[in-house]
């Protein structure tokens, strides 16, 4: 008969061995970090503190305007958009769904039964997937109860697994999308002045990457859609004013991974739901919306769109300048980043039939102003009520802001872009390690109103620890 002390010794060893065998270690750490961030955010909301830096800066700007020097100084140092846009700041909290889609493969399953079972299942983090244990999933199958209970790979309770003699089929998490993705190439405005990107703002790729990292699995580069990572987060763009449907936002900053390059962050913010919107549908504000960017070869030597990698079969369609049109609902937001190599002004003739703003057949009286422009954004869409075609456009001019002096959102978005670029193994990142990414992610030490950014930092830390 063992003594109590011996019993506790045995229990302790048993628990150590179970912890040693634990396979969801990274997920446990992620959940702890997430819980800490959630608590910190909740406390910050209950006890908001004054942002003294912003208060002092606001006062300084106001004083400069009063003196009459601030506007001129700002115009020469900070790029601004020309065109209709507003300066009202209206925070809109965007809920980011954290769904992970599992593509299910059944191992050792009867083939006839397998055809009746789901091929893809989506679950919301952090609930672990318990496949086919739901009544509605079992209704269409005649699958035995014991085999159903075996479909819980993350269940801690071993008694739920079958004790049958034959090996029970278990779902396999497929961690990458099919097909090879090819990153966008560098383009020169002299030959390819026009670029576009989808106005969609899906974020499933980021959710999948997050889950894979938390599971301690390697991140397949085909899993990484950089634009979905960038758009997994909300950014504070000014809200449209009056009868405007969108604000077009753009800013230029230095590139943190290449001293010779710059980054242009483009953000499109749709207006919020208004009283005139039909409440029975999800407030459609624009139909067949498409964005087009024309780069100025007098300022841009070459550019590349970060993200929006293509399946090989899509290359031809994208090279023709086409982009999918999208119906846009109230509150929609999309962000894209271009990496740009700046150039001193040159002049070249446009191609026949091309109506370009920056490459006219002959110099015009307005060319001096246009030389300062980096690009022009054009957003075409149709009014969903009357089908009227509308165009909003804006030009970006001015000099790049140093990354460290840029706004928080630009710093964060560029960090997420770099995160995705490293995971995809893109070129141009020689010498850039996860330490650099972490330093960028942690640059803003103040509590962000977006709690998911803290979780992003945890993911970067996990990747950094793997590179040791």
């Amino acid at each position: 008969m063992k003594s109590q002390e011996e019993c506790y010794q045995d229990d302790l060893m048993d628990c150590l061995l179970k912890e040693q065998a634990r396979k969801d270690r990274e997920q446990v750490i992620c959940e702890i970090e997430h819980a800490i961030m959630s608590q910190t955010l909740a406390q910050a909301r209950e006890h908001p503190t004054v942002d003294w830096k912003r208060l002092i800066l606001s006062g300084a700007v106001a004083a400069a305007v009063v003196l009459g020097f601030g506007y001129i100084l700002g115009a020469s140092l900070h790029p601004k958009l020309e065109g209709p846009h507003t300066n009202t700041g209206e925070d809109s909290e965007k809920l980011i769904p954290m769904w992970v889609t599992y593509r299910v493969e059944y191992v050792g399953m009867d083939k006839e039964l397998e055809t009746k079972l789901p091929r893809e299942i989506a679950y919301k983090r952090p609930i672990a997937p318990v496949l086919l244990n739901k009544k509605e999933d079992r209704q269409n199958t005649s699958f035995p109860e014991m085999a159903i209970s075996a479909f819980s790979p993350y269940d801690d309770d071993p008694s739920r697994f079958s004790t049958a003699e034959t090996e029970q089929p278990r779902p396999v998490l497929v961690t990458q999308f099919p097909g090879k993705l090819v990153d966008q190439n560098w383009r020169t405005p002299l030959t390819q002045p026009l670029s576009s990107f989808s106005l969609d703002s899906e974020n499933a790729s980021y959710a999948n990457i997050r889950h894979v990292i938390c599971e301690g699995l390697p991140v397949s580069e085909n899993l990484v859609l950089i634009e979905e990572c960038i758009n997994a987060f909300s950014y504070d763009y000014p809200a449209p004013r009056g009868d405007q449907d969108f604000t077009l936002n753009a800013n230029i900053l230095t590139c943190p991974w290449n001293d010779r390059h710059m980054l242009i962050k483009i953000g499109i913010q749709g207006r919020a739901m208004s009283a005139s919107d039909n409440s029975n549908v999800s407030s459609l504000i624009a139909k067949d919306a498409a964005i087009q960017i024309e780069f100025n070869p007098q300022r841009v030597e070459s550019y590349r769109l970060i993200g929006y990698a293509l399946c090989l079969s899509d290359e031809e369609r994208t090279a023709a300048g086409g982009s999918s049109c999208l119906d846009i609902h109230a509150g929609h937001q999309v962000t894209a980043i271009y990496e740009v190599i700046p150039l001193r002004p040159v002049f070249a003739a446009p191609k026949p039939g091309q109506r370009l703003k920056y490459q006219a057949a002959a110099p015009s009286p307005h060319s001096a102003s246009r030389v300062q422009e980096w690009l022009t954004l054009k957003l075409n869409y149709q009014d969903p009520e009357n089908g009227e075609s509308r165009l909003q456009q804006a030009a970006l001019k001015g000099e790049a802001i140093m990354w460290h002096h840029a706004d928080v959102d630009s710093r964060f978005a560029s960090t997420v872009a770099l995160f995705g670029m490293k995971l995809r193994g893109m070129d141009g990142l020689e010498g850039i390690t996860w330490d650099h990414v972490l330093a960028m992610a942690q640059y803003d030490t103040t509590i962000s109103p977006h709690q998911d950014r803290g979780e992003f930092i945890s993911l970067v830390k996990a990747l950094k620890s793997r590179q040791r």
Partner: protein, 169 residues
């Protein structure tokens, strides 16, 4: 302590703390994980009160014990261990330095020294995360034999950890 430093504390200590929480909650892995998570949140909220001259893992274990006592107060079906028993567990923990993250490296080293039959039992049952019956079936032995082998393995591993305490630093 900065947020980043605390993240390092989480990463370095969560596994040993989960093991400790399992012991005091009677082996419930899910409950242990929840309590450890709550403990880290509470620790971060009170990090300003932490005496940096103290051992942080000891402080965190104290928070875990308090969290478990709170659970037991709310749920009469759960029974918290007595102070004497908790002291005993704490003593056993420090005896084999299971409060330090390096314990898992030492444990892996000790597992390599186990006789083949015991090592196979440990690997099949623990690493395979199987029930006793499943693991026994896989090893083609009966459940009682497996339980005995696991008990002998745990005793051997504990003795190995005790011998190796002074060497690993």
């Amino acid at each position: 302590m900065s947020r980043e430093e605390f993240s390092d504390v989480v990463r370095n200590n969560h596994a040993t703390l989960c093991a400790y929480a399992r012991v005091i909650t009677g082996g419930d892995g899910v409950r242990a994980k929840e309590i450890v998570q709550d403990a880290f949140v509470a620790a971060w909220n009170n990090i300003g009160k932490f005496d940096v001259t103290r051992d942080i893992s000891s402080w965190l274990r104290g928070i875990i014990r308090n969290k478990w006592r709170e659970v037991c107060r709310r749920n009469i079906r759960e029974v918290s261990l007595s102070h004497d028993k908790l002291e005993l567990i704490e003593h056993q923990l420090t005896e084999i330095e299971a409060d330090r993250p390096e314990v898992f490296d030492r444990l892996a080293h000790c597992r390599e020294q186990l006789p083949e039959t015991l090592a196979a039992s440990v690997k099949t049952y623990y690493d395979g995360e199987l029930s006793t019956q499943e693991a026994a079936a896989r090893l083609r032995i009966n459940g009682a034999t497996l339980r005995k082998r696991l008990e002998r393995a745990r005793t051997a591993l504990r003795e190995c950890l005790e011998r190796n305490v002074s060497r690993i630093h």
